[in-house]
């Protein structure tokens, strides 16, 4: 009881101090960005993401800020609830004076903010949410997306799969919108390149509730030549563990979306599934150029290696800074037109926010999983430009609502 009381008082006082401190900070003339993300429950992604943002902000401000003012980001936790995110968005814009919104990892939260942005005419840069709908079927003038879409990443893997000897495929993906999109995109892209490919089994474990032993048995029953895997996080770890134990991956090609990302590969340590074809982020292999510079700066500032989330967070701020510079103002309409066709240099090279669908051309690293010093790494990788793996302009046009 006493301990509780003391803890409570401490946190209450700290809280009060934060409020006071931040209201002083607000008094200074800064350009504010409202960042909404799931910092608590998906911390494995969101914490490195935030650290990436912090590094970029430091660099922008060290170089004199934007339009003569320092850049400031207000971080808010969306609690995983889209409704809450919309409320926070409103507050960031009307009360805190944020000039634009960024963030979100969940697709549904991203879609809710995007709908809000279009209705209230606020600019939203969706940094991470992958849903294809965000820039296509549900796209709008005020929403841009940084990270390569589900379709882009799935097509990159489909290209690799088309070159393999595999004829029959089994898929395993979490049973929610992202998983379904990822399987549909892979099928579409693969059948385009390899019309005789057959899909012999589809497994749909509930997100983060996988019954990995049973899934492995069910896939084994279909005896496919290859497996397409979309599971990630704890589900991936369990699937790899049970599948390896039962010999599911022996003699089979496996194509793993997201599997090579340090967020999901590092926890597997020496059990990383060697030989899988994956998309990932091989930060350890960079020797020069902007990709290496980012890794060095990040390690110097945070004392740990970057994750893919770190890169996305960093590039989010880079994009915002480039847009504000190009617009020469923080007015929403000026920023919206600045983002159209915006080009900038980033750790992965030059990227562009496409005019067709407000999607950036940020790509992904595609390679195979190998082992180095007892931990999983992506080897034989190459960087694929996202812009080369999207639908044709006509298809994009037919998908996007005409009014935008």
């Amino acid at each position: 009881m006493k301990i509780n009381l003391r803890n409570f008082l401490t946190s209450a006082l700290t809280g009060a101090a934060v409020v006071v401190a931040s209201s002083f900070a607000n008094a200074a003339d800064t350009i504010k960005i409202g960042e909404i993300n799931h910092f608590k429950r998906l911390a494995a992604f969101a914490v490195p993401y935030k650290k990436g943002m912090e590094l970029a902000i430091e660099q922008v401000n060290a170089a004199g800020g934007l339009l003569g003012k320092p850049l400031e980001v207000i971080y808010r936790d969306d609690q995983g609830k889209p409704g809450e995110a919309v409320k926070i968005a409103e507050e960031l814009v009307t009360r805190d004076g944020a000039v634009m919104l960024t963030g979100s990892i969940f697709s549904h939260v991203g879609l809710a903010i995007s709908s809000y942005a279009a209705e209230k005419k606020v600019l939203y840069l969706a940094s991470e949410p992958l849903a294809d709908g965000l820039t296509w079927a549900k796209g709008n003038k005020y929403t841009y997306r940084l990270r390569s879409s589900t379709y882009m990443q799935a097509s990159m893997l489909a290209e690799v799969a088309a070159k393999s000897d595999a004829k029959t495929f089994a898929t395993i993906a979490p049973n929610y919108a992202y998983g379904k999109d990822a399987v549909a995109a892979f099928k579409k892209a693969l059948l385009k390149l390899k019309p005789d490919a057959k899909f012999v089994a589809e497994q749909w474990p509930a997100l983060f509730k996988i019954d990995a032993g049973a899934e492995a048995q069910a896939i084994e029953r279909a005896k496919p030549d290859a497996i397409y895997n979309v599971t990630f996080g704890g589900d991936l770890a369990k699937f790899v563990r049970e599948g390896t134990t039962r010999g599911l991956f022996d003699g089979r090609e496996v194509f793993g979306l997201l599997t090579g990302e340090p967020e999901y590969l590092e926890p597997l340590k020496d059990e990383a599934p060697v030989g899988w074809n994956v998309t990932g982020y091989p930060w350890y292999d960079f020797t020069d150029g902007p990709s290496k510079a980012f890794v060095d700066d990040y390690q110097a500032k945070h004392g740990e290696s970057p994750k893919l989330g770190s890169l996305v967070g960093y590039m989010t701020i880079q994009s915002v800074a480039a847009a504000i510079k190009k617009a020469g103002s923080t007015d929403t309409e000026a920023l919206v037109s600045a983002f159209k066709g915006l080009e900038l240099a980033s750790p992965v090279g030059n990227i562009k926010y496409r005019e067709q669908d407000n999607q950036s051309t940020m790509g992904a690293y595609v390679g195979k999983i190998g082992l180095k010093d007892g931990s999983g790494v992506v080897v034989d990788w190459s960087y694929k430009n996202g812009g080369d793996y999207t639908l044709s302009d006509e298809e994009v046009k037919s998908l996007r609502p005409a009014s935008n």
Partner: protein, 620 residues
């Protein structure tokens, strides 16, 4: 055939963790009557502790020792929770402890993030049990066989402890009649603490023992919660063999579901639970819960009466202030107050059912989200004007309420609550997985109000009228003959029937009304946010309403509204901080301990004590 057997073995192995965790929950509930929502958190801690110990202790001996130590460590956490948080509130109204355990969840979430870090960890393989054996040619992991062998050992040990030892006899006696055990000179407080230790120990053990098949991450607590509640309910609350059989049934069915109905895995568990409760209302090995068996704790409820002059003036004054918010407040304060009002109506609707009707629902979100989806689906698919869709929402929710109410009213007490949860989860999984129509978890977007309403201030007034109107309407009904009949049905179904009240029909009508009001709040919500997602149908949404009712004071008429307004407002402030969950959790626990009758109940008592309000029983 080979595959069939292999699948059966996999199911049995999966049942091990589920049984250990669920048996702990069942034990705690059986003896202390506490619905411990923090049980999933204890399981998560077990996994993290186990992983940490295994890093230090090597080898086969170290592995099993680590699992045992993890159980002990979590048991100690359980003791701390019981002594600091729950002991002060045993005398509070039934189910009030549920709110306290919710505070514990929040605290543990943030502490786990702080102590163990953000990264997911993969558990080590069990030394000596890394390989597979071939059974009829199918590979079966050795560790699975070890799990299958261990579980009956635990079941037997627990059974022996309960059936053959003195402690077990006392525990069982306490399950039957707490007061009598106390009267016989047994220190009940320590008995409860001991049971909490054992229950937490089992949860920790379950968390640690699954490490070779998984690992530890920060989502584990909520991910197992639904499953263990389902197991406890199917098995019969408080029954250990029941928990074992239910764990096996759920696990084995799930394995076959994965193969033959790969898309159904979410809903399967709840279908099983629904079916079992329809056939055997008290679970496979449960006993019928007779009303009032465990005694109504706390002081008896006061009869409600219409608000006095002072209160009416206060409310009128508050309404005037609310009406002028757009004049002097900011645009965001209108949004915030509108959100709070919507939540207040939602909470008030649950309170009508729970407080006045004695019908505890764990799935109230089904009406809120259901109403919201009715409106959103009409707007999306038939271009229904917003005004019409808005009115169709409560109608749709009420229609759903008739069906759900009719099916659930066969049960009472905690079993009724669990059946409502099962139906809510059914609807949730339907909406979540029927992507072609509902958009799945990508939801339905661009559901904005008509032009005349589509800016902050008009929508604020719109919300004000409907939310306050709904709350006042519910209040009015509470004082009508129907309200009296509902309370009579709650307090004594037999006497109510004798005076000619058809209690079941009264209760069904109450649920329908409540469904309509919750649907109305859902409609207000969907047009204020412009989108709707399955999260609004989730268990968390239902718990939100439960928590504020208890925080506000379940035995008062205004408790729900006051609780909802306070918590939403406090949340809005607290969520800005880095460790907001810790702060919010501690705040909830703090309120629970200081004000066991809820905010309104405690306030009323305090005012009476210092003489500002007339105490109960005084006449003019």
């Amino acid at each position: 055939m080979e595959l069939f057997l292999a699948q059966f073995i996999t199911g049995l192995a999966n049942a091990a963790t589920l049984f250990l965790v669920a048996s702990g929950l069942s034990l705690i509930f059986g003896v202390t009557r506490i619905v411990n929502f923090a049980h999933g958190s204890l399981y998560m801690l077990g996994a993290y502790f186990g992983y940490t110990f295994m890093q230090i202790l090597p080898g086969g001996f170290g592995f099993w020792t680590s699992i045992f130590l993890a159980g002990l460590a979590v048991g100690v956490v359980g003791i701390i929770v019981e002594m600091l948080v729950l002991r002060p509130v045993y005398r509070a109204p039934e189910l009030f402890q549920l709110v306290a355990t919710f505070g514990v969840i929040l605290v543990i979430q943030d502490l786990a993030l702080f102590v163990f870090g953000a990264d997911d960890v993969l558990g080590p393989r069990a030394p000596g049990l890394k390989g597979v054996v071939r059974i009829l040619g199918e590979p079966v992991p050795l560790y699975d066989l070890a799990l299958i062998a261990i579980t009956p050992f635990f079941l037997f040990s627990l059974w022996y402890l309960m059936a053959k030892t003195r402690v077990g006899i006392l525990v069982r006696a306490a399950t039957q009649d707490r007061e009598m055990v106390g009267a016989l000179g047994v220190n009940q407080a320590w008995l409860f603490t001991g049971v909490f230790f054992l229950g937490s120990f089992l949860a920790g053990l379950g968390g640690a023992i699954q490490l070779p098949k998984g690992g530890a991450d920060l989502l584990m607590d909520f991910n197992i919660l639904a499953a263990i509640f389902v197991v406890v309910v199917i098995g019969g609350m408080g029954s250990l063999p029941g928990a074992y059989i239910a764990a096996v049934i759920i696990s084995v069915l799930n394995v076959f579901g994965v193969t033959y109905l790969p898309q159904s895995t979410l809903v399967l568990m709840f279908v099983v639970m629904g079916v079992v409760l329809m056939v055997k209302p008290y679970g496979l090995f449960g006993r019928e819960e007779t009303a009032g068996e465990h005694g109504q704790v706390g002081e008896p409820e006061r009869p409600i009466k219409p608000a006095g002059k002072t209160v009416r003036l206060l409310v009128a004054g508050l309404l005037v202030v609310l009406a002028f918010v757009p004049v002097f407040g900011t645009s965001f304060s209108q949004t915030l107050i509108a959100d709070i009002l919507i939540f207040c109506l939602f909470a008030a609707s649950l309170h009508f059912m729970l407080g006045l009707g004695g019908l505890v629902s764990f799935g109230h979100a089904v009406f809120f989200g259901g109403g919201a989806y009715v409106a959103a689906l009409f707007v999306t698919y038939s271009d229904t004007p917003m005004e019409v869709a808005f009115l169709l929402a409560p109608v749709g929710a009420a229609m759903g309420a008739v069906i759900i109410g009719w099916l659930c009213l066969r049960l009472t007490g905690v079993y009724f609550a669990m059946l409502t949860l099962a139906f809510a989860q059914l609807v949730w999984s339907l909406v979540y997985q029927w992507g072609e129509v509902t958009g799945g978890d990508d939801g339905l977007v661009n559901i904005w109000p008509s032009d005349w309403l589509n800016s902050t201030t008009p929508y604020y007034y719109f919300t004000l009228v409907f939310a306050i109107g709904g709350i006042l309407f519910l209040r009015h009904v509470a004082h009508s003959p129907f309200g009296y009949a509902l309370r009579a049905s709650r307090d004594s179904a037999r006497q109510a029937e004798a005076t000619g009240i058809n209690t079941k029909r009264v209760q069904l009508f109450a649920i329908t009304l409540v469904g309509a009001m919750a649907g109305l709040s859902g409609a207000l919500f969907v047009f204020s946010k412009g989108s709707i997602f399955p999260t609004e149908l989730e268990v968390g949404r239902s718990f939100d309403a439960l928590i504020v009712i208890f925080l506000g004071g379940v035995k008062t008429l205004s408790g729900a509204v006051v609780g909802a307004a306070s918590l939403e407002y406090v949340k809005d402030i607290i969520t800005r901080f880095e460790y907001w969950r810790l702060t919010l959790g501690l705040l909830i626990i703090f309120v629970v301990i200081l004000a066991p009758e809820g905010i309104v109940g405690t306030l009323r008592k305090t005012l009476e004590r210092i003489g500002w309000m007339r105490a109960e029983g005084e006449t003019k």
